[in-house]
Symmetry: C2
Amino acid sequence: MKALAIDLGGTKLAVAVFSHDGHIVERAVYPLELRSGAAVGVMITAAVQQMQPHGFDAIGVAVPGISRRQTGTVWAPNIPGWDDYPLLAELRAVAGDIPIHIEGDRSCYIMGEAWQGRAQGCTNAIYLAVGTGIGAGILADGRLLHGAADISGAIGWMALQRPFHHEYVSCGCFESMASGEGIAKAARALIAKDDGYKGMLQHGHLQAKDVFAAYATNDRVAVAVIHQSIELWGMAAANLVSLFNPEKIIFGGGVFGPAAQFIPAITAEAARWAQPVSMGQVKIEAAALQSDAGLYGAAYLAFHA
Amino acid sequence: MKALAIDLGGTKLAVAVFSHDGHIVERAVYPLELRSGAAVGVMITAAVQQMQPHGFDAIGVAVPGISRRQTGTVWAPNIPGWDDYPLLAELRAVAGDIPIHIEGDRSCYIMGEAWQGRAQGCTNAIYLAVGTGIGAGILADGRLLHGAADISGAIGWMALQRPFHHEYVSCGCFESMASGEGIAKAARALIAKDDGYKGMLQHGHLQAKDVFAAYATNDRVAVAVIHQSIELWGMAAANLVSLFNPEKIIFGGGVFGPAAQFIPAITAEAARWAQPVSMGQVKIEAAALQSDAGLYGAAYLAFHA
């Protein structure tokens, strides 16, 4: 048995044919190149057809947003025209009656790690995806958590610092401070207040990766921003530990990569806040599958759809 | 079909025989009177035998702590000698082979409200129990959330205010500020700093109910403490909304009663912090079943054990 995994991102489409034991038989990547709406759908169905000669019995799809399971439609905020896109119907039109499972990307990340990565053997595990934004994929008591309308895991909105600040309005308290965007914004704010600063972060298009690079040189702005991020990541992990009593919390996502070095510090911070018995039962780790986590999770869900 | 519901609290034991449609056929309450260890077990099995003439086909038990489902044992921190108490074996000895379900009290509260209270028809609903401490019972995608070792829902440990403060060590950030104990402590701390205060809270054994009473007279200490509690309850509710995407959040517990008047203010505070789409799908309400929530939940779990 083989499965076709599809990982739709904000800038590219990745597809791969998986064997049942988790090996990638064939893969391809296509840049979206500013496509929107139905043009993205055409790209996906064309990719499915291109992979059909390799043979597969099920399809799993990771989408950058919400999969509305009742309607088979997708909300993807970074793809124009994908407010309620009929992806399931379009896939059915080219793939016929094989099982098709569409899931939000953060849920695919945790299932990928549970299948082939750091959360193998876990029935309670959470993937905290730190990218441009922040979200969580939650495996609880052996099942993906969905919620009333499939929008569970919106952990970027977690309240971690009172009182309320107007910056939290657009993307939430945690995300506004500790996402890729939040890290860059925090660094810019510190530089603006620091008249004597002459460090390497004094340029126009500051990104989180620049802050990680500057941290390695002991840059004072970067050190302050990273310490704040570690505190916030630790608090968020603690809150997941106390609420879910998981076996693993996996940190990953497009921005987090260089922050794997901070896992011990994040764990120490979490241990200050979390329910102590649950804290003793969890391991906090960096993701194993990197940018393939979505593909692996989509493949797993296809095999179990 | 009838069920025997048992609600073990820190100070009393309540038992009731329920009909399948949710009516209480017979009930009794026994004060624990400082019993501990096996004496509490004897009291429970005696109560079961006393109710046997009324006939029941299943037993549900709410315990003030953690039900370890794998071993059938109970951890109840406020009952001396109940670190790992073999309650299931003792119940089996008197009740024989009928279904027996033992569950933590906060999980019983949400199942009680889902069966006969404010969360009827919900598949995603959370009971936030504000008593001496704070805990949450979580119904997610139609199932009670348990976690790796049955200690999910320890929301009293939720991190809501950085930096870390030594007061959080013993019971967690949220609980240290917004539980019954936390409210009394916050009032005492404000009075100690307020030289000119001559209000009604100037006495030795201040409790949360005194703060609620003083709030009604516009007492300045009580107003400040209640406003802080509303902010923290709202933030915690918001975090549950963002993570779980529930249909209902129910506030209840032994201390919360008089705070039902603050539900609109708590909802407004939650709406500032929570993921906005999820916030639009949730209702925040006060509990309907009051002190019987544990009995109702235990009965429901007995019928479905």
